[in-house]
Point group: C2
Chain length 415, copies 2
């Protein structure tokens, strides 16, 4: 048995204990985590400093270094996150359905922990704390595998959390960090059938693809967002400018940012120059279809087929003029990754058709795609945004870390 298999087996053993914890016990452990993170800030920052030195030696980009960097404030934020999770409703034990069958069997469908949740993520060390806290509150053991470049930070954080939960009487092994950050280690984790109940990757498109391609355990695909804003013929054009400006530029690096603007031909001549002017403030590069180029002229780069399929995550926007709502819906359903899609319209039928016919986790009428987020949706916390259709779709909070169990009470019934 390899180290990773042994960790999986241990997680499965410990999951039996975790299933039995009361909300109070879990909250105590979360508050202990918050307390200990603060008390050990210096230890955390020292470990992080080592990661950063190595990263600088290896020529990591300043943007990536910023993702990796922890500060006293960021440690406080993590502690505050743990406290916030303690304050959320316990997702375990909710009775979701129930009835008495004709033969007198009483049945209940109850929310229960998944068991063992695996997470593979990249450079931000705060995911280590977020994931551990959400898994703990939902009664799950977690197996965490962060990026190589954050190993020392993650080791410090996991060590502190393990000691904290142990101090409140929980098994330390309900939080386990893989110290093997090789590709082979990740592959092995993806194939821990029998131990891992679900694997959630969080990171770039390459990581997600590798997990989908290689995993044999159940996976929740997260995070890729090729989001569209469609400006209908009946749109309030000022509103449409505000929405595309917000959706594209408020935070271009996140998955709910817009990547393509579709405009109905009837308003293209009026709207496109307005949009161009607004977006110019943030130096957004436009990549347009031939009709867009006719209207906006030489400031626009010709869009390729690939541009429509690309999640730029940058100040770049593909633009296309469409002949009809039908063409807009077809474009969206062709290129969308199923994350967040928006129509700006004042036409009842158009709003109905867009919301019904577009296939995505979140479909907006007259609002920015940027709202697709666990916090905005009121979930309290978020472990990721699912772009698949199985189990969870859209922002995933604590409830999405539970499964169900039928409990059936009889008096000797046989079939």
């Amino acid at each position: 048995m390899t180290t990773i298999q042994a960790m999986g087996q241990r997680a499965k053993e410990v999951s039996v204990d975790l299933r039995k914890l009361t909300t109070q016990q879990k909250n105590q452990a979360l508050l202990a985590i918050a307390e200990d993170l603060l008390a050990h800030t210096r230890e955390i920052l020292q470990a992080n400093e080592q990661d950063l030195l190595l990263a600088q030696e290896n020529g990591m980009s300043p943007v990536m270094q910023d993702r990796l960097r922890l500060t006293a404030q960021r440690v406080q934020d993590m502690a505050q996150g743990a406290r916030q999770v303690a304050g959320l409703d316990d997702p375990v034990g909710r009775v979701l359905d129930g009835k008495t069958l004709p033969n007198g069997l009483r049945m209940q469908k109850v929310a229960v922990p998944m068991g063992v949740v695996g997470m593979i993520f990249e450079s931000r060390p705060n995911v280590t704390v977020d994931a551990a806290c959400l898994c703990l509150k939902s009664g799950n053991c977690c197996l965490l595998r962060g990026g190589k470049e954050a190993l020392r930070s993650n080791q410090a954080l996991a060590g502190i959390m393990r000691r904290a939960v142990e101090r409140t009487g929980l098994p330390a092994d309900c939080i386990q960090l893989l110290e093997d950050t090789s590709r082979e280690g990740a592959r092995e984790m993806m194939r821990l059938n029998g131990y891992l109940d679900v694997l959630i990757p969080r990171g770039g498109a390459g990581l997600i693809r590798s997990v989908v391609e290689n995993a044999t355990v159940p996976v929740i695909e997260t995070g890729t967002g090729n989001c569209h804003v469609y400006v209908d013929a009946s749109a309030d054009l000022d509103m449409a400018v505000q929405i595309i400006f917000n959706a594209k530029t408020s935070r271009p690096s996140v998955c709910n940012a817009a990547e393509t603007l579709l405009v109905h031909r009837d308003v293209a001549e009026a709207f496109l120059p307005m949009a161009q002017q607004a977006l110019a403030e943030k130096h957004v590069e436009l990549r347009g279809c031939p009709r867009t180029m006719e209207i906006l002229g030489r400031h626009v780069i010709p869009a390729t087929e690939a541009d429509y399929a690309t999640e730029f995550l940058d100040y770049i926007l593909a633009v296309r003029v469409v002949d009809s709502l039908d063409e807009a819906i077809k474009h969206v359903n062709t290129y969308s990754t199923g994350h967040s899609e928006c129509i700006v319209t004042n036409d009842y039928t158009a709003s109905e058709r867009f919301t019904q016919e577009v296939d995505a986790a979140a479909v907006y009428v007259n609002a920015s795609t940027r709202f697709t987020d666990g916090g905005e949706f009121g979930l309290g916390a978020e472990i990721g945004i699912s772009t698949q259709k199985l189990h969870a779709r859209g922002p995933m909070g604590l409830r999405e870390l539970t499964t169900t169990k039928y409990m059936i009470f009889g008096q000797g019934q046989v079939r």
Copy 2:
């Protein structure tokens, strides 16, 4: 693009139309299927006869031939099944959750079709009709891949259903049957990412394992049931005899049949001879632990470790005497496939602990494991029994063939 990819692409195209169907349109199509199956009974039986002749030439066992065989009665049953699905509530369009956010955004979480559902199954041709009808009612296109030995029967059934739905104005391609029944064809189907939203295998352990091992599309694992009956120290022993007799012998070949009997040591001497006598009526072979053998003597075969892990699907029962409830729970959580588990007890604490601590889709107190079934649970129909924790757990009906979509209505909100 291969044939199978082209079918996937076509299914995805057609899924846009299927999403828009009203309940009435779907029910009309289902009733047309029922009607046409009956009207073409002769064509179906002729095709089936060809499959059977080939099967006999290839030396197929009589049991397997019976699974493959269609009769006028079985065709009537399939038609009745289609009518029954027409009578069930439409799972699409249910508003599952909703609220108005502080910024005035109105959000709804609505049940919507998955899109394209793939099914890989074995010899019973009735699965072709069941699966197509359940997918249709839930607004999904289906891609069906049955066994090689049932190809002609499945072609006849799929052809009739395609013409029937077309007659009511639906696209025939909402039901597609793969005629390539090779292993390579199945593998290709398992990797139709971008086209298949979910793949559900139905069949033996080998098929399920192959799908879990090879699929890159989201899978719902179904059907393996290594189910236990635990007779607690406080059990009503007569009730316990009835339950184990029913759970083991009423239909040994199905996944909710019991495979192992666990008995608390305090009642082992009284109970085991009673159970042995009852089970002897059906010539059940007992494979026991050393203590079982001491009590029951030479009629029992020694159980191996492998016996406890085996889904016999036959008149064979593993038997083990345990020292405590803890040992029983540990045994179940070690060997269970997470399907259905039962405790026979009159002890409150034991019933509480068993239902809370055993990790399975359905946990019974004082009732046979045989009740885990879509029909028995009142789901109306069943597309399979999930033994995984993602998306659906236990019997899956129409609701489990839907996903969700957030629809969000604003007045220009930006973040």
